[in-house]
Symmetry: C2
């Protein structure tokens, strides 16, 4: 059995390598540069090896997205647990969210912009995605205000953050006023 276990370990290790390399390449040169050939060359295997791990390029993007969702959830929880008071917590949450999107544009794209073949808002949604939403809900739920469903409020707040993130990064919004936009958003949406 030991031999098979070793092989499984090596296989899992190689899969991590594929995902990490895809992510790295995407952050360096954009997702367009992540071709199966280049990716294969970087991991020092031939192209078909990728297809023994993933169904295709889409699934690789999806794997990067899941990794990113887990990281984002952790980052959100780290900041919110360090902040005291609902208002400060929500502001910190918003900043962390936008900061994550700005620092990991390729990962953010994999999560929300590109087609990673992931299901959302269903019961078969992957765990990391549900958990990231849960992380948002934890802090946002307490400022939803009376009579407003916490999940609905979280959806709206999240959509606003997502809009700010994508429009800013696409050059649709001037980056200079980013902080003022966050303050305005939190000030209006959160019922402190």
């Amino acid at each position: 059995m030991s031999v098979q276990e070793r092989k499984q370990r090596e296989r899992a290790e190689r899969e991590r390598l594929i995902v990490a390399t895809a992510r790295e390449l995407a952050e360096q040169q954009g997702w367009d540069a992540v071709t199966t050939r280049r990716l294969a060359e970087r991991i020092e295997y031939s192209q078909p090896v990728l297809y023994s791990h993933f169904r295709g390029k889409r699934e690789i993007i999806g794997a990067v997205a899941l990794e990113g969702a887990a990281e984002m959830a952790a980052a959100l929880r780290a900041t919110t647990s360090a902040a005291d008071g609902p208002r400060t917590r929500v502001t910190a949450l918003a900043r962390t969210y936008l900061d994550f999107a700005e620092r990991n544009p390729a990962v953010y794209d994999a999560m929300f912009q590109l087609d990673g073949g992931l299901a959302f808002a269903h019961e078969d949604t992957p765990e990391p995605l549900k958990d990231a939403f849960a992380a948002l809900l934890e802090s946002l739920g307490e400022v939803a205000g009376d009579g407003v469903h916490p999940a609905l409020f979280t959806e709206v707040f999240w959509a606003a953050l997502h809009g700010l993130a994508t429009l800013t990064r696409a050059g649709r919004l001037p980056p200079a006023d980013a902080e003022r936009r966050v303050e305005l958003l939190v000030g209006r949406l959160a019922m402190v």
Copy 2:
């Protein structure tokens, strides 16, 4: 001169045909299906003809985006001018925006999701885009609230709408509660 004028007319007509066909094909089968070959076949010309009108596929997407921006601006102005009272106007504006995105997903993608090679938030931003933002600003500026820059408020509101539009269409948000999300958003953001 008459001959040249006729040729120019025919050329302009063919350019409109290209853009309209690209848009139609994209709405029917998605932008992935809009290849230069298929597009050329549909307009009953050969591939290189496309390149005598546009620098490449990106510019065709950009042309569809501009057309869409003009339509959206018109749609927004039509509803807001029909509504009286700032609050009703803003609600109608939000509904129209989301409705446009839902009814013309491919055009909306061309405007904000895909790379159409368009500049934003610069002085060299194409007129239709500036005008669409202006249409938003006209109604949103009057509910920005005291001491809040109308343009900044418009950016935030727009980002929220954009987030709702994209996340809903990508299946990230359950479509059922769309109307309640709009009410929540308008109720909180707009200082009536």
